[in-house]
Amino acid sequence: MEKEIRNNINQIINEFAGFDDWMDKYNLLIEMGKSVPVIEPQYKTKSNLISGCQSRVWLQAKYDGGKVYFAADSDAVITKGIVSLLIRVFNGMTPDEILNADLDFIDEIGLKDHLSPTRSNGLTSMIKQMKLYAMAFKVKEKAGEKE
């Protein structure tokens, strides 16, 4: 995995490692959610909605100078925390870096059972959607090069 992504992940793991108690971990996750780059209301559209979660999650991406930037929101604060973790890991990365990333780190932060890839929390869907954005930008760029 790219070093920068690994660094982001390690940083998150460290932050969580500071807490033993699940309540503190969740409080941190919820706090993190508050700092997520918030998607603007006009982008809370059906097409930006991620399906497969119990709560609604909107995810938007833009491409700038070869790098991808995400914004998101959710009506559930824990879900918002989860998506904020992913955004912290991926923001400012290149499409290729995102596409190649391995996401087992979720296991390492000690919220494993909750953040496991089942349908209810939509983690899988979020990651899939982020990778789809990355793929789309990559394809677009290549098409641009050819022109």
């Binding site: 309540m23 969740y26 919820i30 119990q54 709560s55 009506d75 559930a76 604060v77 824990i78 879900t79």
Partner: protein, 406 residues
């Protein structure tokens, strides 16, 4: 047997489990119930001593298993007070039972422009199969509304019954709201216009008494896994006259009498509707579950769950900002609620950390959520083994939820 909750709990090994270092409090019974040792041991015995394919086998294993299987059919017949055991068809669950009827009866009865009547509180399993057959047949689906308390509005129901109505499909108990519907009355009203009625009893079995003859319903469906039986067992009760006029739903295996390439004749009831190798394990397990329930008498179980409902409703109502959805006069042991400003997913996640397993979301009844304009609810649903003390812990847990998220 006297109703001793501590003894009852001992029959359910899973209740000893720890969830996130807390004792498991299982409040997700409307989704699926836990299994008593009697049922688990029946399965073990079956696979260690009796397992084989039934019906046509002449060997001892097969004869014994066939007998046990057919004895269970009689047990189910008694459990729901059907007239005859060949009105009891084994399926894999409520959803399959309803699909069978929607398909085979719908095929027979529905013409273009006809109507299928359902209530606005149906589980998707009693909605989507009818939508599918309506689409195929160019028939329409009509919906009986319910009021804010979650009670069907009988004055609106009555005029919905008309000459185009070909089937009424209705839940006995709503899984999202807990409402016990006045099915007996509604069946009588439908029968006045000769409309056959299917009752979805998924939430009723092992919670309230089922008497298909007293109800006079034409079909009654339920799942084993929600009544202490193994997964993969289900029942479709159908009145003989209807089962006889219906074509089989699935083909293959024991449901035929003779087969040639030109013509196939079907077996008699109920086998006509039981294609493929039956799930003997699961059906014998259902027999053990019925025995278990009978040991305590359904009235005792009902009384216990009513007490839990009353205690739980009062306790939850005292919590500030908590709103209960479903406050019908006749209710089963199910409480759906929301905490002001807190998403049910967040609440469920925190409760789970405390070992309290509740269900959150739309409970496969999206139209109910749409009716109240909410994304979903937190649902607690009771079974024979739940206690007041567990409800106290839930109240404490909701306090934590509010502190963390409020």
């Amino acid at each position: 047997m006297p109703f001793d909750i501590n003894k009852i709990r001992k029959h359910f090994p899973i209740l000893e489990e720890k969830i996130n270092n807390n004792s498991l409090i299982y409040f997700d019974n409307a989704a699926t119930s836990q299994k008593p040792l009697q049922v688990i041991e029946r399965i073990i015995d079956y696979y260690k001593k009796e397992n084989c394919n039934i019906h046509r086998g002449v060997h001892t294993l097969s004869q014994k298993a066939t007998r046990a299987f057919e004895e269970t059919r009689v047990k189910v017949k008694e459990f729901i007070n059907a007239e005859s055991s060949h009105e009891v068809v084994f399926t894999k669950g409520t959803t399959e039972s309803i699909n069978l009827v929607a398909n085979s009866l719908g095929e027979k009865l529905l013409q273009e422009g006809d109507e299928v009547l359902v209530s606005a509180m149906e589980h998707h399993s009693n909605l989507v199969p009818w939508q599918m057959v309506c689409k195929k047949k160019k028939a329409h689906m009509k919906v009986i509304p319910f009021n804010d308390k979650g009670e069907i509005i009988l004055e609106v129901f009555k005029p919905l019954l008309n000459s185009r109505t070909k089937i009424l499909a209705l839940s006995h108990i709503s899984n999202a709201l807990g409402t016990i519907n006045p099915v007996k009355e509604m069946i009588a009203m439908a029968h006045e216009k000769d409309i056959p009625v299917l009752i979805d009893g998924a939430q009723a079995a092992a919670h309230i008494e089922i008497d298909v003859q007293a109800l006079d319903c034409d079909f009654y469906c339920f799942s084993g896994h929600k009544m202490y039986a193994p997964m993969g067992s289900g029942v479709l009760f159908g009145k003989q006259e209807f089962l006889e006029m219906m074509e089989p739903y699935q083909g293959g295996g024991e449901m035929v009498d003779t087969v040639t390439f030109e013509e196939t004749t079907y077996n008699e009831l109920p086998f006509k509707f039981e294609a493929g190798t039956p799930n003997v394990e699961s059906i014998l397990g259902m027999g053990a579950a019925i025995d278990f329930v009978r040991e305590y008498d359904l009235h005792e179980i009902r009384k216990h769950e009513e007490e839990l409902l009353k205690y739980g409703t009062e306790a939850l109502s005292r919590i500030e900002g908590l709103k209960i959805y479903g406050t019908a006069k006749e209710k089963s042991g199910i409480i759906s609620f929301l905490l002001d400003g807190i998403h049910p997913y967040d609440a469920g996640t925190i409760l789970d950390q405390l070992g309290i397993e509740v269900r959150t979301g739309h409970h496969c009844a999206q139209p109910v959520m749409d009716r109240y304009l909410i994304p979903g609810t937190v649902r607690v649903s009771f079974a024979i083994y739940n206690t007041m003390k567990e409800i106290d812990k839930l109240v404490g847990g909701l306090d934590t939820v509010k502190k963390m998220l409020g």
